[in-house]
Every structure is written in C-alpha cells, then in structure tokens.
C-alpha cells in the first residue's frame, strides 16, 4: 500500500514497477528478475474508466490479455474469463460493451481482467478514486473478499488514509518533493468494521500526523 500526498511519486513508483517508466538509477527486481518494460506478469488496474478497450465486450476484454500475451488459447481463455467475471459478479453483463456499464462495473471488469492473468503482482493505481463513496466502499469490500479467496500480491496506490488502513496490510507512507519513503507501517487485521475503533483511530492519527508534519515543514 503506497500512501502519500499528491506529487510524492506514488504513481511514478507504481508505473516503474509496471515497466512503463525506467528508473534513472538503480533497478527494480521482481522475484530476482529485473523489470525492463511492461509485461503481463504485472497487471495494472488504472484509475481512469477508459482503460477498457471500448470495442470489446466485457468477456472479450477479460480474454484480451490472456490471448494477446499468448498465455492461453481462445477456448481456455473464454472459460477463465467467464469464471473471473462471475467472481466480480458481472455474469449478466458478459456480452455488453463497456460504454453500457457504470464506473464501478468498469473497475470490476478491469480487476477481473487483471486477476484472470494470475499475475505475479497486481498493480492498482487509485482504482477506486473516481468512484462515489458508496460504490468505493463496496469495491473495497469486494477486493478484500477476492483477496481472502486467492491471496494475491497487490501494490496499491491511494491518497486516502482510511483506504490504506482498511485494504492494506503494510503501508508505505511517502513524503513529497522529492518523493521518499517515510515509514513502513503494519495495518494487518483492519476492515470496515474496525473503522472508528480505538486501534484504528490511533493508526489513523499517526499517519495523519506524519503527512501533516510534511506540510508544515514544506511551508515553514
């Protein structure tokens, strides 16, 4: 979980892991192998709704990376796409084009598309930031449920403290100008029911103070 104010390089860090940006110095290694260029072993879920090719139906969208990367053949890809679409609860919309879907549904498709690839790491760049509050909460719960089931590795960028604590198990707090990692915190065992609880409040205040301290330094 990467957390920090805007301009601290969370998205840049995520995109570097994705292989879209090349580090000027140093290198990024995933299970020992250096990252050079984008690849289907690191599937990305973006914030924007236009990440789904509009010329493909929901099912074709989920199948697209499977067949494009040569991971599966058409028939197998279709079966797997069906099962992942069912996991995000969109069976009824499998043959619909993305422009007919709501924002939340589009993000569900993007998550199904990424999970269907069974990537080594799932990269999520503020995937719920453009959703309304009610849908966002529902999507966070769904993501946690999917994680409970499959236990995949996620690198998740957010600027919401609450989202970081609820969804994440480890939080990297970053500070801006230049972007540096300020702290790594343990946020295991929190969910939506713990919001408002004493431990939750304590962690939230701690992170809040860290981010707020930055602002005083940079202005003072």
């Amino acid at each position: 979980m990467l957390l920090g104010p805007s301009g601290c390089g969370k998205s840049s860090l995520l995109k570097s892991v994705g292989g879209f940006l090349k580090p000027v110095e140093g290198e990024i290694r995933l299970s020992g192998a250096e990252v050079d260029g984008p690849g289907p072993d690191r599937m990305m879920v973006f914030q924007e709704f236009d990440q789904l090719p509009p010329w493909k139906t929901v099912k074709e969208n989920v199948m697209f990376p499977l067949t494009a990367s040569g991971k599966l053949r058409r028939r197998e890809a279709e079966d797997r796409a069906r099962s992942y679409i069912a996991k995000v609860g969109l069976e009824r919309f499998a043959d619909v084009h993305p422009h007919m879907l709501s924002g939340g549904m589009k993000q569900r498709v993007a998550i199904a598309r990424a999970l269907a690839m069974e990537p080594a790491i799932l990269l999520m760049d503020e995937p719920f930031a453009a959703l309304d509050a009610l849908t966002r909460r529902k999507m966070q719960e769904e993501l946690l449920a999917l994680w409970e089931e499959a236990r995949f590795t996620v690198l998740f960028v957010t600027h919401s403290i609450e989202e970081a604590i609820v969804v994440g198990s480890r939080i990297l707090v970053m500070s801006p100008h230049p972007g540096r990692v300020k702290a790594e915190l343990d946020a295991d065992g929190f969910d939506h029911r713990s919001v408002g609880g004493e431990k939750f409040q304590k962690l939230q205040t701690r992170i809040h103070d860290m981010l707020f301290a930055d602002r005083i330094e940079s202005h003072g």
Partner: protein
Amino acid sequence: MADGTAKPLPPSRPEFERTLPPLGAVGDVARPLTAFEKLTNLASARRIFLLLILAAIWQAYGAWLSNPLIFPPFTDVADALWDSILRRGLLWRAWASIAVLAKGYVIGVVLALVITALAVSTRVGSDLLSTLTAMFNPLPAIALLPIALLWFGLGETSLVFVLVHSVLWPLALNTHAGFTAVSDTLRMAGRNYGLTGIPYVIRILIPAAFPSILAGLKIAWAFAWRTLIAAELVFGVSSRSGGLGWFIFENRNELNIPEVFAGLVMVILIGLAVEAVVFRAVEARTVRRWGMQR
C-alpha cells in the same frame, strides 16, 4: 427572535419511514408509437421525403423555364436515365468507374496505414508524414493528371495514380490525428498485455482511433470519387468503355443534355448509396456499437 434580526430556521417536518410496495401494477409505462412517429423516426424515410421535395422543385423550375437545352425538367432526366441504363449501358460505365476507383482507394488506404504506422513508431516517420501531408494535401489530385499522363500514358494507371494521391493524404492526416488522440491509459493497458510493434498498432491503436479513421475514409472516398469523375472528363478509362465522366463528356459534345444530367444524377446516386449503405453499415457495426460515437 424578538429583535427581528435572527435568521429564520428551516421548518422541521415529521420524519417517516415506509416499506416500499413491490412494483408491477405501475412498473411498466411504455406506450406503443403511432405509425407516423415510427415513420418520422426513420432517417431514411425523412431523407427520401426531402429528396422528393427537391425533385418536385426541380420539375417545377424546369417546366417553367421550358428550355431543355439549358435545364431539362426532372421527368426528362429520369427518362434519359432509364433509357441510358437500358440501352446505352450506363450501369456498365458506372461499373468501369467504380472498378478503377476501388483499385486506387484500396492502394491509397494501405499506403496511408503504412505511412501512419511508421509515423507513430519513429520520430523521423512522424516528421516525414507531417511534411508530406502539408505539401501534398492542398495539392488538387487533378493537377497531377498531366504529369501522370506523361509518366504512365493514357490509361488506367494514370487514373489510379491520381486516385491514390487523392486518398492517401487526407486519410493519413486523419489516421495520424486519431492515433495521437488515443488516451495514455489505453496505450499503457495495451503495452501491459505485452503488445508491441505491429500487433500493438493493429490490436490497440487502429480500433481505438477508428472514429477518426472512419471519418478519414469518408473524406477520402468523396475526394476520390470527385477526382475520378473529373479525370474521366479528360479521357475515358480505356478507349472502349469509358467511365461515368466520359459518358457525361460524350453526351455534352452531342448536346444530349438530359443524358448529361442523367450522368450527373448517377454520380450523385452512387455517392449517396456509398454514404448511406456502406459507411452507415460500418458505423452501426463499429463506432456506434462501441459507444464511441452517438
């Protein structure tokens, strides 16, 4: 409150909570359309109605002028059209034109795609494309005809050459504009799948830029059609079966003015047919279905 300066509070209303009754009795509120509404909702019906009105105005003006050498009335032209189709092989003439057009169009489209694919993958290609389009797009294709005749002689090759010129630049310009407008997110999604090079262009860029490409195809079609007819006015496709332009030119020389108009009507009808049937069908199946165009 008593001093009159306090701001009024919003009035408090009693709260309520109700269990909503299941829908069903009042759920469905669709009304069938009347026959007239259905008819006026059909774009083709509205268009045909407009065409009929224009034909009526034409007929009235032609009858009032009563000078068939200058402006024959609609019925004369319709007769001449029917007669030309039945006895003078107008449809064959049209077919000859369309066959040449198709060759030039296909070659032009392929070249345009190759050039723009080069332009999006290398910086030199991009510079080359913008320079070439700036130079050649304003140059009327018909102005190249004399040179084409010099190079390729009096025949189909010269026509195809000017057609390719008329198709290539507007289409390349539109396609390139479409490619550069593809959103970063979609590009990153495509590269995330491991797509690069030609597969990336074919599977991501071309469909994502399809609305612009389709607009370019339409413009290119119109340019090509008018270039072809103009070029044929200078000489036919071949000595025996000249195209539509040649048909118009021949009949003007013999002062068969209704036939000249019939030839023009044929040109227009083919233009309308391609626009209304071919491009509309492509649009309905692609950009409209994908929600990229309303």
